[in-house]
């Protein structure tokens, strides 16, 4: 661009005017090898940039059900022969004492779906319809039995908050950067249970989740205040270049100053690309109804998942969707397990729609969909018809991104309490995701605060479900 005589005359310090740069958007004229939209020249560690081997998945859509889903009533059926009997129970949450509790019957009916015949409960009929694309892992476990510690553990791979451990998405963003210079690499949609689910921790603010919402303002401070006009702002941006000119020439050697120019360019690009990503007007009705956007109960989550697909399409690496977050989480069914029902209804059709939509677009092969919760729920009762927290055994599932479809792996004991058959610590799920993204666990390691920090301290990928 410095070769253009007219341009260098108009903008003597060689910077391109914003109006012109808007017109050229999409042409990739900037040619900057930026790690992420929030790329910076500060002291934070720079992204490694490239995967270690050809990746199976380019993006991850991470569905987190806040509060603890009952595996027994969804993907891990048990016969009711123990129902009504007292068994030794360990209290979680507010009851820490050992006690005996009655096992409560599971009131769901399970149907064998697809060619694989994997049983799925009547709460997830639509997911049942795509079960041949899903690998169900019935033997997940973690240590923590209370919501916040367990959310931290299953999100960061570390227990406790002595250090500001980053969320899984931040590690991915740190290691891989963005495939799209106009959007952040780690996006969160929906209200999380804990701000920890968004944190970049010691990897820095630049890799933290950018909250997106399906609506008018997808990102904070994205739009100019109401009284401003587009042409007014364009004029301002040009004037800003002129005003910064002398300063930038004076401090040309300072990398911070260059980073600042870039930050403004990126902010401007976000203003243009983020609204486009959340604008569903180009989506045909049949696609919207696949996600259940035309039905009241599924509308909200459906919009969020459609947004997730659009972001994955645009190269966002890690899209985290928190369902029923805030406080302990909506899935926390202590009083009565039937409070799961509306959450299942709200998520079932959109999740199945997402998988079908990804598949029909040929995107499922390179998009890893993960469904999980911070823990499962106990076989015994709490308050007659409710279930307590159960970190000893729960179910997560994955689809696409080089994962086998239609398989069940691992299992809990006969009441559904402990993972006994091929138990997998929550870090194994992280290790699997990292592996499918084409990275080694060694790239999930930084040296900071005088020690080596890792995403996965002790864990390995779940080989049995990898295609």
């Amino acid at each position: 661009m410095s070769g253009d005589p007219l341009l260098s005359k108009l903008y003597p310090c060689g910077r391109i005017a914003r109006r012109r740069f808007i017109h050229q958007l999409g042409g990739g004229f900037l040619g900057l090898a930026l790690g992420g939209i929030w790329a910076e020249a500060g002291e934070a560690p720079q992204p490694a940039g490239l995967p270690d081997r050809p990746p199976k998945a380019k993006s991850v859509i991470f569905l987190f059900m806040c509060g603890g889903v009952s595996h027994i009533d969804t993907f891990d059926p048990k016969d009711n022969k123990w129902a009504g009997k007292l068994i030794d129970a360990v209290g979680f949450g507010d009851n820490l004492a050992e006690m005996r509790r009655p096992v409560i019957p599971c009131l769901r009916t399970f149907k064998h779906y697809g060619k694989s015949g994997i049983p799925v409960s009547d709460w997830f009929p639509h997911v049942g319809g795509v079960i041949d694309d899903i690998a169900v892992v019935r033997s997940m476990w973690c240590h923590e039995g209370n919501h916040f510690p367990a959310v931290i553990e299953t999100t960061t791979g570390q227990r406790g908050r002595q250090f500001d451990h980053p969320a899984l998405g931040s590690w991915v963003s740190h290691a891989l950067g963005s495939a799209n210079q106009n959007l952040p690499s780690f996006v969160n949609i929906g209200r999380p249970s804990s701000p920890v689910q968004l944190t970049g921790g010691y990897l820095g603010a630049s890799v933290a989740a950018t909250p997106f919402q399906a609506g008018q303002t997808p990102v904070p401070n994205l739009y100019p205040p109401r009284d401003g006009t587009r042409t007014g702002r364009d004029r301002q941006m040009e004037m800003l270049e002129t005003m910064n000119c002398e300063f930038r020439e004076t401090y040309a050697v300072n990398s911070d100053i260059q980073a600042r120019a870039k930050a403004y360019e990126l902010a401007a690009r976000m203003q243009l690309s983020a609204p486009e990503a959340v604008d569903f007007s180009s989506e045909p009705d049949h696609v919207k109804s696949l996600y259940g956007i035309d039905e009241k109960e599924t509308q909200e989550f459906g919009k969020q998942l459609l947004l997730a697909r659009r972001l994955a399409e645009r190269g966002v690496r890690f899209i985290q969707i928190c369902h029923a977050g805030g406080g302990n989480g909506g899935w926390d069914a202590h009083g009565d397990i039937s409070t799961h029902a509306p959450h299942c209804r709200a998520t079932d059709k959109p999740i199945a729609g997402l998988i079908r939509d990804l598949k029909q677009r040929g995107m499922l092969d390179e998009t890893l969909v993960v469904w999980t919760s911070e823990f499962g729920r106990t076989p015994w009762s709490q308050n007659t018809t409710g279930r307590d927290h159960n970190p000893k055994g729960y179910t997560s599932w994955m689809a696409g991104g080089g994962i086998k479809g239609g398989v069940i792996h691992g299992g809990t004991d006969e009441v559904g309490y402990k993972a006994v058959d091929s138990p997998h610590y929550c870090s194994d799920l992280h290790a699997t995701i990292i592996h499918q993204l084409g990275m080694n666990l060694a790239s999930m390691e930084v040296h900071t605060l005088g020690r080596t920090m890792r995403l996965v301290e002790d864990g390995t990928r779940i080989r049995e479900i990898i295609a």
Binding site: P225, Q236, M243, Y251, A263, G450
Partner: protein
């Protein structure tokens, strides 16, 4: 950590180190290098530059220097009147007078207290922070201490013991030392230790070791919690010896109210309880039949023998029966929603009405009175033994592995600890003693870092092997010795640093300095002043000062810059109003902290690299990111500041738009515009005063605003 840690109590033997690490060698005041420079700091800096053949940049112009000193020392830009006065003062010591004035300003204490509190991990709230209400009183104490130039050793001593010593600490002194009675307000200094109290009683001591060792000793000992420190001379045993010093500490709540207020509060509670009693009875009586019905239904679901147990009155059950009853208690517990679920619609409405009448009578809790949490030594805990904790887990003491309280490393002369005055008192004497080489070195390096944008030791909280070596070892030792000699006056050290030639250098290096640039591109040897990005608080203060809406009152609780969302009520416990009327309080008072369940630290602070107080924060990283750009471009805060500044520009100066442009430059850049700049601005305005707001936006978004040069 699984990777290193010995899982059980065996403490591995450390390899004896052959050489004493530089930071643990005694401080010996070096002789000044030859030279004509009046300020000793410059003798050291310039000698090094001469040796390396590096040419230094000359002094910055007066306006630049004025803005730099103001933002560094007070965090506020100079007002137009201050600019005029300083530029008009042609006396030889105009700059020194300016520095004196700024160091005496209370706003200087606000600015530097914020910097110290980063290191001391101040937070308004954390996960389980018992001491959260009233913690701001500790901040106020730090501000006061800095404002009265409390000697640094006393500053540390008071925050660890709550008491002032009569004489300066001499480790060789034996016998009991006389101590002054605490002055009113001294207990607030103990906020430092109280801040660390959490769910587990061990938290207090663990956090005390982490904060004290990083802040005052420049040692990151946290890793020694689970295993021997990989690089530094602190073993696991020494870590727990240090922790044992703080083990007897417990939290104590002080109600900050006079007798009359306490009586008043008590009376109000009693009255409310009296009014509630009949309403409560009405609610219970009304619900009783439904409760009984539900209980009966659930009883019938149980096996007959269990039913029989449950129907027995509690005092007639055997021990075995009571165990069964306890097991089944949760089954029979009737929650409110189950209860209302069992009522017909109309009955439920009546019931809810009764309940709302009851809830209408609030019991004014004792918490309404202001409280402060302090720490004290519990004589019982002092008698208990201390142990190594397995994997650093507070709930797993290794009972086979007892430790005695002691120092983390030896200093000469190596006297055995004397705990007759108390463990922490003895430790504080050891810490602040002249013989402790780290105490003064770490402190002067911090002050240096805050003025120059980088320490002589680049990792100010790590004087161990990972922290690297100082760029100017002799200067560091000279400063440390000078600090001790002047009686630990921080003001004196600030003055020495800020009046040096090195501090006054220009930041821009033109082509004529190409060679210097090549020889020392990172400016380690300080041949020019380092360009510094404004930190979050000065960004906030500069925006609102320019707009004329900055409230300079000091003290009190923190405030939240977010307005009008659902969490406001919860936040109110920790924060006050943002300011009076249209005014905004200083950025140092913006709420910060962390919690798993809610956002405490506002996005604005996080975007501009402010830590949440989880860890001691010795250096704020200076990132340059798109969210920062979006904040300055589009946030309501900046929009409001633009509007207010534009209004001020239209209202204040006489002389129309040209005068408005002059004032804008003065308020935002602390200088007058050049002729070309002024012409450009006027051309942009097109003679339309309505455009002033756009001009303000341009200025706040320009590089010159966000950088100190």
């Amino acid at each position: 950590m699984a990777v290193f840690g010995p899982a059980t109590g065996a403490v591995p033997v450390r390899k004896p180190s052959t050489e004493v690490w530089w930071s643990l060698k005694p401080v010996v005041k070096p002789t000044l290098p030859e030279g004509a420079e009046p300020n000793p700091v410059d003798r050291f800096i310039n000698a090094e530059l001469r040796i390396r053949g590096i040419r230094a940049v000359g002094a910055a112009d007066k306006a630049t220097l004025l803005r730099r000193a103001h933002l560094d020392l007070t965090g506020l830009p100079p007002s137009p009147a201050e600019q005029e006065a300083f530029l008009a003062d042609t006396s030889a010591d105009a700059y020194e007078k300016l520095v004196d004035r700024l160091l005496d300003d209370r706003q200087h204490a606000v600015r530097y207290a914020r910097r110290w509190l980063d290191v001391l991990r101040y937070a308004d709230a954390d996960e389980r922070m018992v001491a959260a209400p009233g913690i701001h009183l500790w901040r106020d104490w730090v501000i006061n201490a800095l404002h009265e130039d409390m000697p640094y050793d006393q500053f540390v001593q008071l925050q660890l013991t709550g008491r002032r010593a009569n004489e300066r600490t001499q480790m060789s002194a034996t016998g009991y030392r006389s101590r002054r009675e605490p002055r009113p307000g001294d207990e607030f200094a103990l906020g430092l230790l109280a801040r660390g109290a959490g769910e587990n009683p061990q938290d207090l001591a663990i956090n005390a070791v982490d904060t004290v060792s990083t802040a005052f000793m420049g040692m990151t000992v946290g890793c020694a919690k689970c295993h021997d420190h990989v690089y530094d001379p602190v073993s696991q045993r020494e870590y727990y010896a240090m922790k044992a010093l703080f083990d007897p500490l417990v939290l104590r709540k002080i109600t900050l109210a006079g007798p009359a207020e306490l009586m008043e509060s008590n009376k109000a509670m009693a009255e409310a309880e009296k009014r509630r009693a009949p309403l409560e009875k009405a609610v219970n009586d009304f619900a009783a039949p439904y409760r009984a019905k539900l209980r009966e239904e659930r009883l019938l679901m149980l096996p007959p023998e269990i039913q029989a147990v449950m129907r027995k009155p509690e005092n007639r059950r055997t021990v075995g029966e009571q165990k069964i009853a306890d097991d089944y208690f949760p089954v029979l517990r009737i929650d409110e929603d189950k209860l209302t679920g069992a009522m017909p619609e109309e009955v439920r409405r009546t019931y809810e009405e009764l309940r709302s009448r009851l809830n209408g009578v609030e019991v004014p809790r004792g918490q309404a009175l202001p409280v402060f949490y302090t720490v004290e030594t519990d004589p019982l805990r002092e008698k208990e033994k201390s142990h190594v904790l397995i994997s650093g887990d507070p709930s797993r003491p290794d009972l086979q592995n007892e430790v005695q309280p002691g120092w983390p490393f030896a200093t000469a002369p190596a006297l055995p600890p004397d705990f007759r005055d108390g463990r922490i008192e003895a430790f504080t004497d050891w810490l602040t003693a002249l013989e402790n080489p780290l105490f003064a070195r770490v402190a002067v390096n911090r002050l240096w870092q805050w003025h120059f944008g980088g320490g002589l030791v680049r990792n100010p909280s790590d004087f161990g092997e990972l922290g690297g070596r100082p760029s100017h070892p002799a200067l560091l030792d000279w400063l440390a010795a000078e600090f001790v000699e002047c009686g630990y006056s921080m003001r004196h050290m600030h003055w020495l640093m800020v009046t040096s030639e090195a501090y006054r250098r220009g930041s821009a290096a033109g082509v004529e300095f190409q060679e210097s640039q090549q020889l020392d591109p990172a400016d380690t040897l300080l041949w020019h002043f380092r360009l510094q990005r404004l930190e979050a608080e000065p960004v906030w203060d500069s925006l609102h000062a320019a707009a004329g809406i900055l409230d300079l009152q000091t003290g009190g609780r923190s405030f939240d810059i977010r307005e009008g969302d659902g969490e406001k009520n919860r936040r109110r416990e920790l924060s006050d109003k943002a300011g009076s009327g249209n005014l905004k309080r200083r950025g140092a008072y913006i709420v910060r902290g962390y919690s798993s369940s809610r956002d405490v630290t506002p996005d604005f602070l996080r975007t501009f690299d402010v830590d949440d107080g989880r860890e001691p924060c010795p250096v704020r990283t200076q990132t340059v990111t798109a969210p920062q750009a979006l904040f300055l471009m589009n946030s309501p805060d900046v929009d409001r500041a633009c509007a207010q500044l534009a209004e001020r520009l239209e209202r204040e100066p006489e002389g129309g738009l040209p005068a408005a442009v002059d004032l804008a430059w003065r308020l935002v850049f602390s200088r007058l515009p050049s002729a070309a700049e002024k012409a450009g601005a006027l051309q942009y305005l097109e003679n339309d005063a309505a455009r002033l707001k756009e001009l303000c936006w341009l200025m706040f978004n320009s590089d010159e605003f966000i950088y100190v040069r």
